[in-house]
Symmetry: C2
Subunit: 214 residues, 2 copies
DNA sequence: CTATACAAGTGAATTTTATCACAAATCAAA
DNA sequence: TTTGATTTGTGATAAAATTCACTTGTATAG
């Protein structure tokens, strides 16, 4: 009795980029109480083709049933596991400006496993302020803090000019990932994953499309 | 005497996505006082291949010189013009939470031509607060405001649950573009450009990569 | 002035991504 | 049961994006 061979292909980058979208939509279905859905229906909700949806999922396994579709809870479980959402990551935020506060205060992130255990700034007027249950700490104490507390993820919401300096501190301390909001390319090494989110790029894309349509 | 034929091909989506990155790096070169750069050097800074850089630029024209490279100021001017950064867009923000404040307070956006002329919320405790030079207005007055003031861009930083409702108001009033921070797919029409920025998706991508590397 | 190194722009080849279309499995109605 | 309607998963195909590699032009050193 043969077991099914696993197709040993690497997951395309384009597929990885779509995983969060899949999670978002499946989660929405759960909230609505939907129990099952076909690739055709789900793909229409998302604005993609059904074959793309099926092909994408096929890189990770078989989650549906022919003639029936997908059980929504099964699919949510599968995608959570693929992304790694069942884990909890300790994180600190550097930069307690509006963006830092927005990240710290958004309940959606803690719900997904991001646990903020420290927030830092260099502005004496901000240091010591309460932010939810956390005190804003002096960034000078950051290396010490990282030494005493297990931190997997560093979040950079500082101005661009100091972002690399902060990244170096985080990397030296051995964080596994950096979530970077500063509009610069950070240099790291193979031991750290750097994920950029350039909000300004999104605005420029909007501008380009507005400009083109004129 | 023949004029050079224009290659009539549409610009690939992948190229459009990279335009903001080009602008970011060229801008950085300007700040550093660099005067000229080759495709090889610039591409190394950006972490892409030089042929991709040259191929991308070729969709919009010829901006360099053989044996010399690119004049940085010329390139900045060209890309600004392609993206449409010389224009000024009037914008309003709906949702005066931390994210709304972060957008309103970030000087980089006004520098790129985004002029915030109003900010709205539905929370009585927030309405009336000062945010820079703007008062937070009651979202009930949004349709009236849009009627009296020319607004090209609406920025949605509300919870997901009310985002579509706000989008409908903006679309009815005839805004040209919506910059959406709420984690939902907004439904619009062909007259409005909707640009989404899903911050949570970026976090999930980081989680996926951390998970994969384990 | 000449020779050499440099470097843009681009057609062609390659690689990656998306779509098609169909076999196999399941469901549901008669 | 049996039959017809669904619907998945996937090889094959098509389309899109990236890289190669070469031609042409420019700069610069001697």
């Amino acid at each position: 009795m043969d077991s099914k061979p696993i197709r040993m292909v690497t997951v395309p980058k384009a597929v990885i980029k779509r995983l969060p979208m899949y999670f978002r939509f499946i989660n929405q279905l759960i909230e609505q109480g939907t129990e099952r859905i076909s690739s055709r229906e789900l793909s229409q909700l998302m604005g993609i083709t059904s074959s793309q949806l099926r092909q994408d999922l096929s890189y990770f396994g078989e989650f549906g049933q022919q003639g029936y579709g997908y059980k929504v809870v099964t699919l949510k479980q599968a995608i959570s596991s693929i992304i790694g959402l069942e884990k909890i990551y300790n994180a600190i935020i550097v930069g307690a400006g509006n963006m830092g506060k927005a990240i710290a205060g958004y309940p959606g992130f803690s719900r997904r496993g991001l646990k903020i255990i420290g927030i830092f700034d260099n502005n004496p007027e901000i240091i010591g302020n309460k932010l939810g249950s956390l005190d804003v700490l002096d960034v000078k104490t950051l290396p010490e803090f990282l030494n005493k507390n297990p931190v997997e993820v560093g979040i950079i919401t500082t101005p661009a000019s100091v972002a690399q300096e902060i990244a170096d501190i985080l990397i030296t301390a051995g964080v596994k990932g950096i979530w970077n909001f500063a509009p610069v390319l950070l240099h790291g090494n193979k031991n750290v994953i750097i994920e950029d989110i350039h909000v300004g790029d999104s605005l420029m894309t909007l501008f380009f499309k507005l400009n083109k349509n004129k």
